[in-house]
Point group: C2
Chain length 273, copies 2
Amino acid sequence: MRGVSDVQTNRADTLPEGAKAQRVYLSLRDQITGGALSNGDSLPGEQRLAETFGVSRVTVRRALDALAGTGLIERRAGSGTTVRNGQGEDKPVAMNFTTLMPQLVEMGHSTTARLLSFSYGTAPDFVARAMGLAANDEVQIATRVRSADDTPFSHLTTYVPAAIARNYSEDDLASQPLFALLERSGVEIEEAHQSVSATLAGPEVADALGIAVGSALLSLRRVVRDINGNGVEYLSGLYRPDMFRLEMPLTRVGQGAARHWEPAIGQDGEGTA
Amino acid sequence: MRGVSDVQTNRADTLPEGAKAQRVYLSLRDQITGGALSNGDSLPGEQRLAETFGVSRVTVRRALDALAGTGLIERRAGSGTTVRNGQGEDKPVAMNFTTLMPQLVEMGHSTTARLLSFSYGTAPDFVARAMGLAANDEVQIATRVRSADDTPFSHLTTYVPAAIARNYSEDDLASQPLFALLERSGVEIEEAHQSVSATLAGPEVADALGIAVGSALLSLRRVVRDINGNGVEYLSGLYRPDMFRLEMPLTRVGQGAARHWEPAIGQDGEGTA
DNA sequence: AAAATCTGTATTATCTATAATACTAATTTA
DNA sequence: TAAATTAGTATTATAGATAATACAGATTTT
């Protein structure tokens, strides 16, 4: 009854039931995947963890059970618990600032898209406002999940004015980046505004991304306008932080008071190899 | 025993305790903020919601209590529950891409900093690796919390090589952006690499930011290097998504195959007024 | 070998989320 | 006005998460 869950490498569907155990689990998990706890590191003892989190040892135990189930930690009686962060950081998909719009083509990974829903309807309030549409304007609403090497990493919902959206098909959406489709449709893209934030995974998104409800997600909102200032795309994207990072290499240019930062294009901070 | 919690407008501290209530809360919240439920919309009755989610009415009630606490819904006996997606978005602190390094000076808000901890020690593995230091190199480790209008919104931990850090005092850290202190110390900053992701609030950070353990946080890692390629600062920043957004206005420049995106400097997408 | 530390396991008690039910008061609808 | 629907409130019961405690087995340290 938990949707699609028995996948090959679903290391994420083991959330403990209790609320406190959940927090301990999620907190430790993020410390590991986030780099605060590296591979060989040994965790504090269960008793100490219990004190740190202000819960009982049983609760800590549940969280550790879940973590051990995902393979993130290894426990040995007498010795202790050590981090088993499957070594090399797993190379999450990195979206560079400058290659941001072209939506992750050629990333070294083979990314695929799956269309979850597709419909036409009136634009929601906040979309209409952001894009500068009338309240009754019709838009195409599509939700897609993108995967890298068969692991889903992003949940994207796009709103495109119906007049523009008619220029491409449903199949196009599943196979090509929306960005390319827009330009193919003759839209002259001029400006975009992006806002990055964070949120928690709700049931639907969690299911689609193969993660636990309550996991942290990177949230990105994007409004794209053409040369006339008309909104042509509204994107609401949710990304798994363990699979996806937004990278921004910067260099400092100019002299004196005019000295400021600019994106370092053409060079990757970490390398995408 | 929950640390500082009775703040004026902390709407982020309302995650329900129970696991089922959490799911209902997150699901409804996402439907609202995601646009599936717009402003004036009225929700189904509590009894119906209970049936839909397969939980009891008490559980639904908890979720709704939390939603009402955040101001996302409004409940009236006899009438029902309506979505109050308070449109104006509450104007959180917005950090523009181009003004990113100067760390939020002149934001329209009065931001203050509080020094949580301050010490010298050997750099953690991941810091040493990222900055290109030897494993035993000494660094200054400082943790600060920044607040806007007395509401904390960011939790920053910085690592600076001891040799550089000796050039400024502990008091300097509490009053000035680290960035300014570095340049004052004669460091010639040349390059930075930032990585944005998301994570969950652990006990310490949650307490410092006045939010609930398990809340979503925007996570930013920054490595700054000087003209010789030596790492001079490593920053690990956690930001409350309800108080902080990373904004990126972009424009499309160039022609043909060379057409690409560049940050639109000097113009704010939302306005910082 | 002894001591200390750790996970593994078990037991019991308590607290709390959840469920089921009933009722009141406000509001809308017929 | 009467009926229906709704949120607000309260009560009771149950199940499950959590806490507190104790001890055994494994491992490391002294």
